[in-house]
């Protein structure tokens, strides 16, 4: 079946400007998170008072939330695959699954932040608290935006406004979601697993 949206206006690169523009945005986001990760690494081990990372970080809980986020990335590509094949039911299922996984991840983050505050770690308790909450908080904010975006796509698909011809819209949302995932891959290793 021929698609309608495969023909984009002619560009100097031959590429769709929306996709190229979004990759450029992702490049700028890479530098943004690079600066936050740099800040965390610079201040790692510099706190003069507790709570210290090894006292509060809960590796088993964060491992589960990491698994949930990785699963959401799989659901996202399956949603894109379904949209590209014109499988509306599959698209609805996988888009919703991705959004639910994102919400579960945010729930884990809310639980973790609450537990930390109860243990005395706030954003102004020490440099670990400041750099940790800013880094993971900005990541959580990105996940929140992604969940809203996914739910919007789900509603549009439900109302029949997203079909095969609109696959690029889902692909661009997917690029954002996977970027959020790879940022977490880095955070999980540098913040949680490396002592």
């Amino acid at each position: 079946m021929e698609m309608e949206s495969v023909h984009h206006p002619p560009t100097a690169t031959g590429l769709d400007s929306r996709k190229l523009g979004f990759w450029t945005f992702i490049g700028s986001e890479t530098l943004f998170f690079g600066s936050l990760i740099s800040t965390y690494m610079v201040y790692k081990g510099a706190s003069v008072s507790g709570p210290y990372p090894h006292e509060v970080l809960n590796i088993p809980v964060t491992s589960v939330s990491t698994f949930v986020l990785l699963t959401s990335s799989l659901a996202m590509v399956l949603a894109l695959n379904a949209v590209q094949q014109g499988n509306r039911r599959g698209a609805l299922t996988w888009l919703l699954a991705t959004a639910i996984c994102g919400l579960i991840f945010l729930g884990f983050q809310a639980y973790e932040f609450t537990a930390f505050v109860h243990e005395g770690l706030t954003i102004k308790a020490n440099v670990f608290g400041s750099s940790f909450f800013v880094l993971t908080g900005f990541h959580g904010a990105h996940v929140s935006v992604g969940v809203i975006w996914l739910l919007t796509l789900w509603i549009l698909t439900l109302r029949g406004k997203i079909g095969k011809a609109d696959a690029l819209n889902v692909e661009i949302a997917g690029l954002y979601w996977h970027f959020v995932d790879i940022v977490w891959i880095v955070i999980f290793t540098l913040v949680y697993l490396i002592p």
Binding site: L31, F33, I59, S63, Q84, Q85, E171
Partner: protein, 124 residues
């Protein structure tokens, strides 16, 4: 990876094809490839967490975790974000800022944690 890439329909690095241009979106992997990548990512994550709890591996923990994490990063970028199959311009737009970010992280770690007295002496 050859087994994985073999399941790509009409793919080819450096060739741009609009998303969803065919019944299986030429240039993008099939759902089987996505599931295989998802399984590999899960196994690597499980291995990372397991390594964290093995005291005997403390000496090689950091380099091993960095390699495993980089592998996961690359798999998601190449297969889920389709950089392996899309135009190399997209890869360039992503990899150049990524390389710059990595250099900044490494430079600041060296300045603050490796160089004696670090940046604390510069302003004084």
């Amino acid at each position: 990876m050859s087994g994985i890439t073999g399941q790509v329909e009409g793919g080819g690095a450096g060739v741009n094809r609009p998303a969803g241009a065919g019944s299986e979106a030429p240039g993008h992997p099939t759902w089987r490839t996505y599931v295989v990548i998802g399984t590999i990512l899960t196994v690597i994550t499980a291995a990372e967490v397991a390594l964290f709890y093995i005291p005997a591996l403390r000496g090689v923990l950091v380099p091993t975790l960095l390699v495993l994490s980089s592998t996961k990063f690359a798999l998601v970028a190449m297969f889920y974000m389709h950089l392996r199959f899309d135009s190399r311009i997209f890869s360039g737009v992503f990899v150049v800022p990524l390389a710059l970010a990595v250099l900044v992280v490494i430079a600041l770690i060296i300045l603050f944690h490796v160089v004696p007295h670090g940046m604390g002496q510069i302003g004084s």
